[in-house]
């Protein structure tokens, strides 16, 4: 009997190591589990080369979502330095060897968001039209979304005795309902940020790249885009797409792999806990051994 028990234990150990090591062997297979962009997903396309930094979108965002005025460290009126619990949308300035560029930051509404995958109490959700939403009644304030968001978007009210997470929800209960598009895209005077179905925005972005690539090097219209639509593949894809002539990483958009972290993590978790079969089998085996040992002679 003892021999059998030892073999069983070896079996458990072997299976455990095998299952845990499987991500290495099946990382390709997991990639097929990545959630895909759907035709009805809505999002935005921001072309940094068209942005003049007027910050109309910031003002419109605050107005539409009823967000408070934010003072900076020097007490300057409503000039936030970064996204915060009071600013869900921001225009930042980049200065470097490539010249200057503005960059608009807000929630990217990822195709397969880490925040949604990690949230223990379903406070963050992805709706049918692709918006990543937040529900304060579900949120326990664990701030795991802040820890795992590759873009550092969710902000928490640390100075409140019962704080909430604040993030862009694409004006889903405000301007999107009233005027059919988010406040920022509606306010933009140059068309630097536009609203639409992600699939058509992607086609538009690619067309802009193609047209620019065909222009001769000394043409006055030549933009010299980086030949990439940021958000097409990054982190498994996002519903907010970017075009720029400055490398995206310099604008603060991280260089991410083409799969979502959520697909990798959930892939492992689903392998281990599919139908709770593995834990149940191990539990039954352990209980049987402990039961047998209960009456049996104890060895040393």
């Amino acid at each position: 009997m003892n021999i059998k028990r030892r073999n069983f234990l070896k079996g458990i150990a072997g299976a455990g190591v095998g299952v845990a090591a499987s991500p290495l062997l099946t990382s390709k297979a997991l990639a097929s589990e990545v959630k895909k962009l759907e035709a009805n997903h809505i999002g935005m396309l921001y072309d940094a080369t068209k942005c003049i930094g007027c910050k109309s979108c910031e003002v419109a965002c605050k107005k539409a979502n009823n967000m408070p005025v934010e003072y900076d460290a020097e007490g300057i009126y409503d000039a936030p330095r970064d996204l915060s619990k009071e600013s869900l949308n921001i225009i930042k300035l980049y200065k470097g060897p490539e010249g200057i560029s503005f960059i608009k930051r807000q929630c990217m509404h990822c195709v397969d968001p880490s925040c949604v995958s990690g949230c223990p109490t379903s406070a963050l959700n992805k709706t049918a039209n692709g918006i990543v939403t937040y529900d304060k009644d579900a949120c326990c304030g664990c701030r795991y979304c802040q820890m795992n968001c590759p873009f550092n978007i969710p902000k928490f009210e640390f100075d409140d005795f019962y704080g909430e997470i604040k993030k862009c929800e694409l004006c889903r209960t405000t301007n999107l309902v009233e005027n059919g598009q988010p406040a920022c895209t509606e306010a933009c005077p140059t068309g630097a940020v536009i609203f639409g179905k992600v699939t058509s925005l992607l086609a538009e972005a690619k067309q802009r790249l193609e047209i620019d690539n065909k222009r001769s090097a000394n043409s006055a219209d030549k933009v010299n885009y980086i030949n990439q639509v940021y958000g097409e593949f990054e982190g498994g894809g996002t519903s907010v797409l970017y075009l720029s002539k400055v490398p995206f990483e310099k604008l603060g958009l991280p260089n991410l792999p083409d799969y979502s972290q959520a697909s990798l993590s959930e892939g492992i978790q689903h392998t281990l806990y599919q139908g709770l079969i593995a834990p149940a089998v191990i539990y039954a085996g352990l209980a049987a051994i402990a039961f047998k040992n209960r009456s049996g002679k104890k060895e040393d």
């Binding site: 995958s117 949230c119 949120c139 795991y144 550092n152 928490f156 409140d160 191990i282």
Partner: protein, 383 residues
């Protein structure tokens, strides 16, 4: 466990009073935290939103108390009856540790009332490793309480009135102990792997010195050797049984097993560091790299103290070996969540004084409860 007896003695000794004072300081800061928010007492920010409380309370706390897990496995699954004497104190320490890990969430989370959503079906989110960890820890607290209940009942039984009820319950609990014990092994395995899994979603924000798809396995393996170490270290502190060679041999065997598990852990860790192409980063000798190497120094020193049968006959060696190896495991958890984690460049985090005191005070309260319970209830074997 017929030999287990209350240790007896005075309850309010100077160490207990000192620890209680530490707890009172933390209680003061906790009041401030509930009145003014997390940011008022801590150095947590949007860029480092998990800090000392989460790491000490949940990650390190949960690893620290794995004694209950490994002794249950040793005694009831591997059928090593001689180790039965370690079960009760290990289970008590685990029970307190996990309860305090759960409690730490009540002051660490911003919307603590909604922690109840973990148990409301419409809010449950089984894809989340954090959900799994929360549920497993709660379930394990219940299991540990059941495992510990016979100890409480033994104290009540001689009293006559409660005797009959207690005896029935005691008998029943002993009958189903095999079911409880199996849970006591499965649940910690699941939630230790869950704690590692949490770090996977950090993606590139966690340095490749630590980030790996094997992180959940590494958390399980390290929690096993840490479990043996905590049982050994606690025994060294609490008993005077060292004159008995047989007793030292038992601890020696535990540290021998811990050593082999630790070697397996070292091999797995390094395979992943090499596979990540992160070896170069280890030789940059910045803060991350230095903490990375500190992990290895601690575990190698620990292994050196318990290197062979001869070395393991000395209680001092056993204690030092266990302490060093345990420190390495604790540092691994600190590194994966704070030192190796970076969401923006130039980010740095160090806990504030109130933040530190809250963690210290809660740990002090835990020790007070442990010491008091072993004085009143039959937990330890006494010569």
């Amino acid at each position: 466990m017929e030999h287990a007896k209350p240790l007896g003695g005075k309850i309010f000794t100077p160490p207990i009073l000192f620890l209680s004072a530490l707890f009172l300081i933390s209680a003061y800061f906790l009041v401030l935290r509930y009145m003014n928010g997390i940011g008022y007492v801590s150095n947590l920010t949007d860029n480092q939103s998990w800090g000392l409380w989460k790491v000490v309370g949940v990650l390190i706390g949960a690893a620290f108390v794995n004694g209950g897990y490994v002794t249950a496995f040793f005694v009831y699954i591997m059928n090593k009856g001689a180790y039965h004497r370690f079960v009760r104190q290990a289970v008590l320490f685990s029970l307190l540790g996990y309860s305090f890990a759960g409690l730490s969430l009540v002051y660490d989370t911003g919307r603590y009332i909604n922690l109840l959503n973990f148990f409301i079906p419409k809010y449950m989110q089984p894809n989340s490793a954090l959900f799994e960890v929360g549920v497993c820890i709660t379930a394990y607290i219940v299991v540990l309480a059941i495992e510990f209940l016979p100890t409480l009942l033994e104290k009540i039984m001689p009293d006559g009135k409660a005797q009959e009820l207690a005896a029935t319950l005691h008998g029943f609990l002993n009958k189903i102990l095999f079911l409880t014990v199996a849970f006591g092994v499965v649940l910690p395995t699941m939630h230790q792997s869950g704690l590692g899994q949490l770090a996977m979603l950090f993606g590139q924000k966690l340095s490749p010195l630590w980030q790996t798809p094997l992180i959940s396995l590494l958390y399980v393996v390290s929690s096993i050797f840490m479990g043996f170490c905590i049982v050994t270290a606690l025994e060294c502190v609490y008993t005077s049984n060292f004159k008995k060679k047989e007793y030292v041999n038992l601890l020696g065997t535990m540290m021998k097993v811990a050593g082999y598990v630790a070697i397996l852990y070292i091999i797995l860790r390094w395979i992943e560091v090499v596979r990540n192409g992160a070896v170069g980063q280890a030789f940059v000798f910045d803060m991350k790299a230095n903490f990375f190497w500190l992990e290895w120094i601690l575990i190698i020193v620990g292994l050196y103290y318990v290197r062979n049968e001869q070395a393991r006959t000395s209680p001092k060696n056993l204690f030092l070996g266990a302490s060093f190896m345990m420190s390495s495991g604790l540092l691994y958890r600190l590194n994966t969540y704070i030192i190796g984690y970076q969401s923006v460049q130039g980010q740095s985090y160090f806990p504030s004084f109130p933040e530190l005191m809250i963690s210290v005070g809660m740990f002090a309260l835990q020790l007070v409860l442990f010491i008091t319970i072993v004085k009143i209830f039959p937990v330890m074997e006494k010569e």
